[in-house]
């Protein structure tokens, strides 16, 4: 699943550890999400969306949006 997490994080000048601390996960977890190696759970996706003040689908893209 593709995502804009790295871009959103960079816009705020946050490190991966900074973002991880703010949403209660490790730096490795943030890195795994950014590189697409780990798909976050729905609660974590909501926490990310809330933190960045946006909607989940504006952060994550499963590539299925064009079919709707």
């Amino acid at each position: 699943m593709q995502n804009r997490l790295r871009v959103l994080r960079a816009e705020r000048g946050w490190s991966q550890a900074e973002l991880g601390g703010r949403i209660g996960v490790s730096r490795q977890a943030v890195n795994a999400i950014e590189t697409g190696k780990h798909d976050p759970s729905l609660p974590l996706a909501f926490r990310l969306a809330r933190l960045f003040g946006t909607r989940i689908e504006e952060i994550f893209d499963d590539g299925e949006g064009q079919r709707d």
Partner: protein, 146 residues
């Protein structure tokens, strides 16, 4: 333990939280390592001559003490450690345990059948336990850093 997301914290507060969380895990791992070292040292020091001799019996008090310490460390320590895992680490842990279980399912029957055929020595439970643990640690490392 999950910290609630908040965009109002000062810059760097997230790094502080992440560092504290990481340190708590290191303290738990360190305490378990020290406990394991003390237990292993006690067994090795007092039973050095016949440590792996199947016919040699240990003093009951030593066996009961080590059993209680091991159960406490695995049950309480494992519970405490799991409370500090995030979902990525927990997923890696589940995959690692699954990989270790798969290695056990493969290794033990093959070893048993080859032993029955007279090709290898009788399966040793201690070696199988070490293989299971090693497979779990290697798989855990792989799933975290790949």
């Amino acid at each position: 333990m999950m910290a609630k997301a908040s965009g109002t914290d000062g810059a760097g507060s997230g790094e502080t939280l992440e560092r504290r969380r990481r340190l708590r895990k290191y303290w738990i791992i360190g305490a378990l390592f020290v406990a394991g070292f003390i237990g292993g040292f006690t067994a090795g020091f007092t039973q050095a001559d016949d440590l792996f001799d199947p016919a040699h019996r240990w003093p009951p008090a030593l066996a009961i003490g080590l059993t209680a310490a091991y159960l406490f460390a695995v049950c309480f320590g494992g519970w405490l450690y799991s409370r500090h895992l995030d979902e990525f680490e927990r997923t890696a842990k589940y995959k690692a345990v699954s990989a270790a279980a798969s290695s056990y399912v493969i290794v033990y029957p093959v070893w048993l059948l080859l032993w029955k055929g007279g090709f290898v020595p009788e399966p040793m439970h201690f070696v199988i336990f070490l293989l299971f643990t090693a497979a779990m640690l290697i798989a855990s490392f792989f799933y975290r850093v790949r």
